[in-house]
Symmetry: D4
Subunit: 206 residues, 8 copies
């Protein structure tokens, strides 16, 4: 019953960005606001870089949950976008699921707010339908760490894999030589200490 | 051997509130007192809102463990209530189990004090009898986080799912349109920051 | 150069509630949302109980900062209320200062959001004018603990005293016999574990 | 493939106390010294109370590891005691294993210092031989929490159950009526807040 | 304006134990229950050892605050004991102050529950009357660390010195040769790791 | 001996940015990398916005300490810039001090890496020369929190005031009406949650 | 389906040290720098002591990632060393895998920087090829604890075992009598408190 | 009443190393063992480098406190060394004080174990005698952080300055050009991340 390592494959993966809305974001407290903003935008940059089909969705965006954060909308102007009229689990929205299936991918990256609902529910639904699900843990936030721990446990139990945006990027890239500048640029923008390393290196090697 | 996502179903679930007693509550130290009180009452509000059969029980309530907190008794005046004469695991009390079975439900939400005993023991017993058990982690408290971690591990290993009151409510509700006012009201009362979002929204949209 | 203990005196103190607004509250992260809401309302209850002149103010309440939290407005319907048109330090608002002076009190309790600005600035201004200032630390919130530590340091250095709502209430009350029921009721509502003690006591002593 | 809840059974369980030695104890830093001492002695009291066969062992007690803590030796004067000449895993000591087997029990409670070695190794060995192993997590200590987390993970993966001394005691006792005074006495000695509850109760009910 | 080091002097110091009551103790959450119990009893042992006049007091002990913890009453059977009928600040109780003055001491050690009220208020009162006050920080507890930090700040500002029970004992003892066995015995009972050192030493040196 | 509140005055203050170098930044561990980068750039934006004379300096920038972070050099292309040949305390560099004095300001904002050396040393030197010094605590970083606490203590003792970049901005701005858009823009860029509030507000008020 | 305890066997294990490079190390923040350096060198000492085949590899060592830390190179002058030209997962480097296979061992100890990439990827690859993988958790570092938790979860799920360097050493050594001096020397050099125990013991037994 | 910045002056300072003994070190829990060992040895290296008169002392070294750590004895073979027969405050030992005075220095660096006793007591004594005292906070350890906070408060209040070993070294060194290699070597040995910077720099600049 050997373990099979199905790596993230840039040609077989889609990204679901669920409910990163201005109101809901104010509820996130398991990351500092700066860290969380950086993580979400880093994941978006990775999706752009690898040209991964990306699907956006919001819940009740005309009410207190607020509009999707504008940076995401700007980065994915042509992505399928579903403002759900009421379904809490985005997998209960037929158009959304149709769009996911239309990508033809077998692997799903899922990130969202809040982790225990907007991420966990579609994760469990997608696992049930046979997708391989990779939860992007640091681009997903919730009320506090205790809540996060329980949500992670439920998703692990169902077979989801937990990754951070950096390991997602590295597993997709496979080899620096595929594009040193491009991938290095993403790291420089989102890992301040890596940017420092690059700068020290560059100055010295002029 | 595919994963099957059995969602919480308001028509097939019962709630067990175990040993939320005045004395025992003073032992809880893995949540702040304000947070814990809020979590327990939020779970109770959810049970009322979805009309979920609820069963209350206490252990030795005439001794140092103290009486059940009055808010719970007031909210569930007609619920089956079992003041156990001595059984530590409420599943060892025949009347209690009879009442659980009488609900005819296959899913159980369990919350209680303390997590490692009053929650873990009936959770393991119910799993053995074939129930699907969802532990409401943030309405269950214990001595410290180390104890909680071990108790969660034991219950996960046996197949219990760990959820927080908010995700329980959302999984039961499924769709905001089922009752926007009602469900929003629970969130407003128990998530202060969500109340702020609602207030800002309401004022601006008069 | 002996120390003089000027106790809080219910006949010589006023309370300033500064910028507890729906938007700004979402920035507070040095307290859990439940804890902070409880602390602010406990302080308000204390002011009502001791009939302390209370002055409310907001900053830019028509913009993103949002309206004052409704509970406070309801509790103090007749209190002087100043929606400042732009002054960040409420002490720069002449009407506000006039109202403070009109109370004729020498002691000021100050609480607000965020601690390092909306609390610290009027605290320093009031100290300069010779008021004794007592910062209510747990009804004042800010971005994180590091920011709070620096703000506390600056206010201490200037001579402000740091208190929590519970010690404010106790120092004003002086003697339980002045009103056991009334004061005990505030504690029961805002200290869940004290409520448990009362309940255990009451049940046993019928 | 149903879950089977094999409860701790006082007639089918033995306790292994591994390397609670004066020198090694100074390495424990995932509990405060007071907490850890209390936990170890509480577990010992429970073993005495339920008359559970207990086996003591030390590693290299004439060297820097130091002698077994005297309280344990005094509490179990007649227990099998093995001062191992060099084996790190006590299961590598034939006499020790012979003594375990001589108890005829199928369940083992294991506690020791340090968790990742003196507890983890015999836990894995005993699991391999078919014992049900219950690690008493709070009577086992190690260098820091990161080390503990990894050790817990390894033991869970192999099938060990993680419990704390309090839940061990409660699962063995089953029903308060079996001996209210006796069991309550252990709690009063090792749970200061429970002692307070008892005292308040007793005074009031004289 | 040179600094003058007035050491704690066993012939010129009295100890005030304020409101260590069964109910109030359940509110203490800035120490683990085991640590706090150990600290309070260690301080009591030190007072006994150095024969320091000790005064006990409680607040409303017939109500929910509960009776003084029995260990303290047993250790100081002949100490002045004041069950205050209602005064929150024990310095407002004339008999209590009379007893303090009757000791004829100029230095006061103060410990109590909760730090921000039962310790801070008499500390400020005693400082005003010219006493040197040493707050025993780890035998004084309160709701959480934020509250403690503010309370410490207020007392420091007024001139109180913050000490822990161990440094109190050492400053009183001055020289091990005054009584090695006696003082070592207190450390062995209340510092588990020091007990381990003693045990390793003793075993090896017969 | 009244307290005098000398507010930060945009016409009487200069900013010193000390040793924010690529190598040294990798030593900072009392802030997350994202938080720290954001704080430093926010402070720089504030200096630009209020047109505050800014002086940059580095220590040994050709060696392992590395070059100044490029964002700062780009933002202040015409600012006096001193690459110190060896002086650890930048106040020991005559050109640097000359430049500070040439600003003619009496208030200094100081931020740098590491807090205990590159910030503390010039802070103490400037205080000695009669400047009012405001340390920008969250744009200054060091090895860990223990080191920071000690460094803050030393600077407080000498009379420095501790502020965060947000309170610096607010104290300089005084009144939102001076430039709502401009000041709001800085907050939107550096306080993600404030940006969310603005976005929700804007969308709704279109 | 019994558990099989395959112990680490010094004759059947190889060690992979992955990307412990000067630049990458500055990204590690889930251990203090002193702790991490000590852990890595302790693991290296253990490999030397047991003569375990060790393979070193680096990623892009001519760029910002920097050279391998010199201590490792010096300790393993003859070990296979692979400066990978671009592959992120070292298992994608054919020479590296060839060298691993050439050892003929079935067990692999893997440590590296960062945990979620340089450790997790080859761990999953090696598990897929049927190796038993033991991750040395405290000689592997990453950005923060949240990232580590997710990485550990992914590796556990795939069947890797999590160990710390100390338990690795103990499981390999089996019995102190195999070489008391040698093994004790490693502990003395890398566990300061164990060194203290040895010193106290030695002095007294001179 | 201007502030006077009396910098540490290598020609006017002595170092007191108090009670860094094998037994006492096992009590230190406000630093990790690796961090603390590193800090103490770094301070010793600094004293050697600047040729600062150093005085060593121990308390009761034949008993459980244990011998001074051997590294210190080896580094300062000719330093005055006082094995105190019983005095807890080393300032109560006449020979010790005579040796301090014989140095003719006005500034004292003090480090020791435990902070609240072995450091705080001589600090207060030396301040009383007019010395400028600089407590080396990270080469001084104690039971836990709460104890440390109180001890720091007491010493600050008396006028001591709190520094870490790194800032001590930098304030003594003043200018890198005084000895780049020598001072850099100390940093490389005791700041692992600084060593990484040096290594990356050196490799690149050959």
């Amino acid at each position: 019953m050997a373990f099979k390592y199905n790596r993230l494959d840039k040609d077989d993966v889609a990204l679901l960005m669920v409910d990163h809305q201005a109101g809901l974001l104010s509820l996130v407290r398991d990351f500092s606001p700066d860290d969380f903003k950086n993580n979400v935008l880093a994941l978006a940059d990775i999706a752009k870089f690898f040209d991964i089909p990306t699907i956006l969705t919001t819940s009740f965006e005309d009410g207190p949950n607020g509009p999707m954060v504008p940076e995401l909308k700007e980065m994915f102007p042509d992505a399928p976008y579903f403002a759900r009229p009421g379904q809490i689990n985005c997998w209960d929205n037929e158009e959304f699921v149709k769009a996911v299936k239309a990508t033809g991918k077998k692997q799903l990256l899922i990130a969202g707010v809040v982790t225990d609902v907007c991420v966990a529910f579609p994760t469990l639904s997608a696992l049930e339908e046979g997708y391989e699900v990779f939860v992007v843990t640091d681009a997903s936030g919730t009320f506090n760490q205790t809540t996060r721990d329980a949500a992670w446990s439920r998703m692990e139990q169902a077979g989801a894999q937990l990754m951070n945006w950096f390991s997602v990027g590295c597993e997709l890239h496979r080899d620096w030589r595929n594009d040193i500048e491009g991938f290095g640029g993403i790291l420089a923008n989102h890992l301040p200490h890596y940017a420092n390393l690059i700068q020290s290196y560059t100055v010295k090697n002029g």
